[in-house]
Point group: C2
Chain length 136, copies 2
């Protein structure tokens, strides 16, 4: 079995605070992101915090997507961890648009036992605007 995974760490800034604070919108957006990636949703777990912020996870057949939002900072942290024939950047595009992010930073990390000496290799880094060059 192929245990190779791709893990996209994404930071979104300048996001719409109202969206970040709306559990239903965030959950719908995460479902849309999973669908865009080509992943199959199995389970979801979301929670809204007082006075603000939403945390949620979508468990998919291909691993998971997670989000943590800080509306007061117009910021969200997202992870898209997928195995198999999925497209984590398609999820990223959906999230960028849905959150109304003005700045993003992503880091793509290889996961999995298929590459024992290459585990957690940094595959790619992007940012808008570019804060720095690719680290490795």
């Amino acid at each position: 079995m192929d245990t190779l995974g791709r893990h996209l760490l994404a930071e979104y800034r300048g996001c719409d605070a109202a969206v970040l604070n709306d559990e239903a919108q965030i959950e719908a957006l995460m479902h849309a992101a999973a669908k865009a990636a080509g992943a199959t949703v199995l389970l979801t777990a979301f929670r809204r915090f007082e006075p603000h912020g939403v945390t949620g996870v979508v468990v998919v057949s291909e691993s998971h997507l997670s989000i943590h939002t800080w509306p007061e900072a117009n910021y969200a942290a997202v992870d898209v961890f997928t195995c198999g024939e999925t497209d984590c950047y398609a999820a990223h595009a959906v999230l960028m648009a849905g959150l109304g992010a003005t700045h993003e930073e992503t880091l793509l990390v290889q996961r999995g036992a298929s590459a024992p000496t290459e585990s957690m290799r940094f595959l790619e880094r992007t940012s808008t605007p570019r804060l720095r060059e690719v680290g490795t």
Copy 2:
């Protein structure tokens, strides 16, 4: 509000296949890991796959912990994403022992809007045995 998060990516190899394939044990272990980290569990979502493998997420007040296991490869991928006064390495120690891992690799990444120009900085990398030195 402090939006600074610490995200520990961990790869465990040489794990006990029976544990990796046991949803109840994996869920209990993830709860124990969250507790060791000083995190407060809010929600959980676990699923066992056929013919093998368990996926699960523990949503905590301080963000989340996730696990994906491949018993056939004696391998598990874990993420411990925490904010505030939590100890992700305490969770890591619990997981190492509970999974019976013989080799581990961890990568600690800074997350969060509190450090806009330092986002996703690599804080630390460990491995047993050491596969390579810290990347940055």
